[in-house]
């Protein structure tokens, strides 16, 4: 018999998509039975009370979680988010219900052995409810009490060789796409760069010293599967400088209908016979390719590496061999001044494991120095860039301006010349001037 009636939530158990309500009920039941004789360190009925408080929100149309609260583990300013229910008497099991962010391994590959260790820990010391994963990428442990925080952290670090992720005004847990691990498009090893920088900047990740959040995300190619260009303060997007590799035999096989276009991704509908002119050449944004005498030709100098032709014919076309990444900066969601897309800062940098990615770290640290000095409270990098200008960003990073930095040159001639840029400077003698110009 369930502790709370949940007539509204119960309606979310039907339908084909996995029901979180059914899953929570299954967990509530498992805790009540306690088949493995776990010595629960937080209330047994925590999931039942979580269902209860959610049902109340469904009735009231409002959340019943209180605002924040400062909790954490010793020496860290991030990784734990305090959460308290505003109806603790009705739902004592979730009166204290804090979240821990656990730093996921790059690429989100797991062994079951490790996952089971996480489950055991979270069964005994937490609610048994997780998010796999949160929006930023962390494994989220959803709901425990203050007293358990240090215990969980101790077990994570001592027994699981595992650390917490970031929250608050610090470096947020970096996240990457699957990259070279299982994708032929990856132009660099996203997992290695993500992991390396995560380890390098542990202090920034755990101890808030920034004006606001700061996100790194790593996409292996311009398809941007991890959405870095839209949401990371610094996005690292794989690209290449040389020519697209072509297998002309495979091109012919696509034209002849022997290979399925777009890797078979459109198989749910009959779109007719593959037409290379219509589906590839005419859709190329720079019109830099043509098909002649049974061969696909590409004027690579004009290619902007949008990936469309490669996506359509993955067995015939591959990115070039001179690979690296572009760095874009300043993307963010609308709060506060409107959404911003990442702006191109470094058109191309080699992603060089051999010197521990020093060229990339130089850019990161120059940006942080500027942002920490000039950024206002809760001002994202993108907003500081708007406030102080792209030129300032180039200045602090020591990067020379190139046409790649703009979509088009400025519309207005309101150019802020600096004094040192103008011959003779700005100091002039008015009396000298008046010798030739009457008052």
């Amino acid at each position: 018999m369930a502790k709370h009636e949940t007539p509204l939530l119960d309606q979310l158990e039907s339908g084909p998509w996995p029901s979180f309500v059914s899953d929570m009920k299954q967990e509530a039941e498992s805790r009540a039975k306690n088949a493995n004789n776990i010595n629960y360190q937080i209330p047994v009925d925590v999931v039942e009370d979580l269902l209860g408080v959610l049902e109340l929100s469904y009735k009231d149309g409002e959340t019943h979680w209180k605002h924040g609260g400062i909790v954490g583990v010793f020496g860290y300013g991030g990784g734990v988010i305090g959460r308290y229910c505003d109806q603790p008497e009705k739902f004592p099991g979730v009166a204290h219900f804090h979240t821990l962010r656990v730093n996921q391994p790059s690429g989100k590959f797991y062994t079951t052995e490790y996952l089971k260790q996480l489950c055991d820990l979270w069964e005994m010391r937490g609610s048994g409810i997780t998010n796999m994963h949160g929006s930023t990428g962390d494994i989220i442990f959803l709901g425990t009490t203050t007293k358990q925080l240090e215990e969980i952290f101790f077990e994570l670090t001592h027994n699981l060789n595992q650390d917490l992720g970031g929250s608050g005004s610090n470096l947020r847990t970096p996240a990457d796409c699957i990259g070279a691990a299982r994708c032929e498009y990856a132009c660099y090893d996203t997992q290695d760069l993500c992991n390396h920088l995560t380890q390098e900047y542990q202090d920034e990740l755990h101890r808030p010293a920034f004006p606001y959040k700061f996100k790194f995300k790593f996409d292996g190619c311009p398809n941007c599967c991890v959405a870095s260009i839209a949401r990371a303060d610094m996005s690292f997007i794989g690209t290449w400088k040389d020519d697209i590799r072509i297998d002309q035999e495979a091109v012919k096989a696509y034209v002849a209908g022997e290979l399925k276009p777009n890797a078979g991704a459109h198989a749910g509908r009959d779109w007719g016979k593959f037409d290379i002119q219509k589906e590839v050449i005419d859709l190329c944004p720079t019109k830099c390719m043509w098909y002649e005498n049974g061969k696909l030709e590409i004027d690579n100098k004009e290619c902007t590496r949008c990936m469309h032709c490669i996506n359509v014919m993955p067995r015939a076309l591959r990115p070039g061999k001179q690979t690296g990444c572009s760095i874009l900066v300043g993307a963010k969601a609308p709060i506060l001044d409107g959404a911003q897309m990442g702006s191109l800062l470094v058109p191309f940098v080699e992603v060089n494991k051999d010197n521990d990615y020093q060229e990339i770290k130089d850019v990161i640290e120059a940006i942080w120095d500027w942002w920490m000095e000039e950024g206002k409270n809760r001002e994202r990098l993108g907003e500081l860039m708007k406030r102080q200008g792209f030129q300032k960003l180039l200045e602090v990073t020591g990067i020379d301006p190139v046409p790649q930095h703009v979509q088009e040159p400025r519309h207005n001639p309101y150019i802020f010349w600096k004094e040192e840029e103008v011959e003779g400077g700005w100091e002039r003698d008015i009396n000298e001037f008046r010798k030739h110009h009457l008052r």
Binding site: S22, Q41, T63, N195, G264, G268, L283
Partner: protein, 381 residues
């Protein structure tokens, strides 16, 4: 429940303390076929919805079976995922950036038994536990935020609307009939922890009432200058108020300037703005993050408000279904929803989808507004 210590000693918090070790190294978790072929993949193919094969230059193959997940997962479910991965995949499994789970096997004969096992597992309430799908020109998992399950600022729930919408578009999770892939995302308030602002369809929780002011406690719980500075439209100013015969420091909200972003509430818990009638959903459409063919795009507001309708948010689900169907019927192959809307023009988008165009859809927020008004006589009747 007796307290069990992990070994942590609160009297000596620094004793044996381990910090800043970061995540586990990804290499520990690669299945052998991934470890052996990393960086050597030649091409991939979608064999059927939810099933991928990647072929390496070594001749190795890896077959991936992708299943949808509710993001909110119990450890019982995670253990069941482990059981399946132990049985079929040598004890390895991964998650995607959109909260799908991927089971990988290294030969074709292992695929069908895995699919049968996954599709056969259901929750007591009847829904699938591990529906296979989410690839190619279809709809994959909806990424989302916490909503009423765990957040203090949401204007809507997250898990509930996601479940309702995914039920509505479930066929497109298990099929690939759309002109291109279509990404739906949900953020439960304008803070957009989920950064959904570049999605083909974004479901956004939104407040429509200015904050209440809890005068009695405001000065005790909040930094007044911080609350004032947090407002992007400068709608908050200091004010002295009489409470129970005593004068207290507080703030006043210029209500007509408020655009309900909730930033003040994040800075000061004495300015709550949640409200049953005021809160609901904004639908945005036409965004994308890929650089494919056209540049990445922001989503645009297509429906300014839909009330919260728990438990199943029927109007939200139905409106999304309508947009998906119109797009499916009208767009060209490879054309993303936003590219389609731009090609036919937004006046046609509203005509074809039957969505109502209201004054709320005309931008009036600062400079970005100007760039969205029409500055040409080229338009369609």
């Amino acid at each position: 429940m007796a307290f069990i210590s992990s070994g942590y000693d609160p009297e000596n918090p620094m004793k044996d303390r381990i910090t800043d070790i970061g995540p586990r190294n990804y290499e520990e978790f690669y299945p052998p076929v991934i470890k052996n072929n990393k960086g050597k993949w030649l091409y991939h193919e979608v064999l059927q919805p939810g099933v991928l094969v990647h072929v390496s230059e070594t001749g190795d193959e890896v077959y991936t079976v992708r299943v949808g997940g509710a993001r909110l997962m119990s450890i019982s479910l995670v253990r069941e995922i482990c059981e399946i991965a132990d049985k079929h995949c040598g004890g390895y499994v991964r998650w995607t950036t959109r909260n799908n789970v991927e089971f990988m096997v290294d030969s074709k004969d292992k695929v069908q038994p895995l699919i049968d096992d996954l599709q056969g597992r259901k929750f007591a309430g009847g829904s699938y536990k591990f529906p296979v799908g989410g690839t190619g020109a279809g709809i994959t998992n909806i990424i989302h935020t916490q909503g009423w399950i765990h957040c203090h600022t949401p204007a809507t729930d997250a898990s509930g609307p996601v479940k309702s919408v995914m039920d509505e578009v479930f066929e497109d999770f298990q099929n690939m009939r759309l002109p291109a892939h279509l990404r739906i995302s949900l953020a439960c308030c304008l803070n957009m922890c989920g950064a959904v602002h570049c999605s083909d369809i974004a479901i956004l929780g939104y407040h429509r009432k200015p904050p209440m002011v809890d005068h009695e406690y405001l000065d005790k719980m909040c930094e007044i200058p911080l609350a004032i500075a947090s407002c992007p439209t400068a709608a908050i100013k200091p004010k002295k108020v009489e409470v129970g015969g005593k004068t207290v420091n507080s703030v006043e909200v210029n209500q007509s300037r408020c655009m309900f972003c909730g930033n003040c509430y994040t800075m000061c818990p004495c300015l709550p703005l949640a409200d049953k009638e005021g809160d609901g959903i904004v639908l945005m459409v036409g965004g994308k993050v890929s650089n494919r063919i056209s540049a990445p795009k922001f989503s645009k507001v297509a429906v300014a408000f839909i009330p919260n309708e728990p438990p199943r948010w029927p109007k939200t689900a139905e409106t999304i279904k309508k947009i998906v169907e119109t797009y499916a019927a009208d767009a060209n192959k490879y054309e993303r929803l936003g590219e389609w809307a731009e090609r036919i023009g937004w006046e046609r988008f509203f005509e074809k989808t039957g969505l109502e165009f209201t004054h709320h859809l005309i931008d009036d927020f600062r400079d970005p507004a100007y760039y969205t008004w029409r500055q040409t006589s080229q338009f369609k009747f």
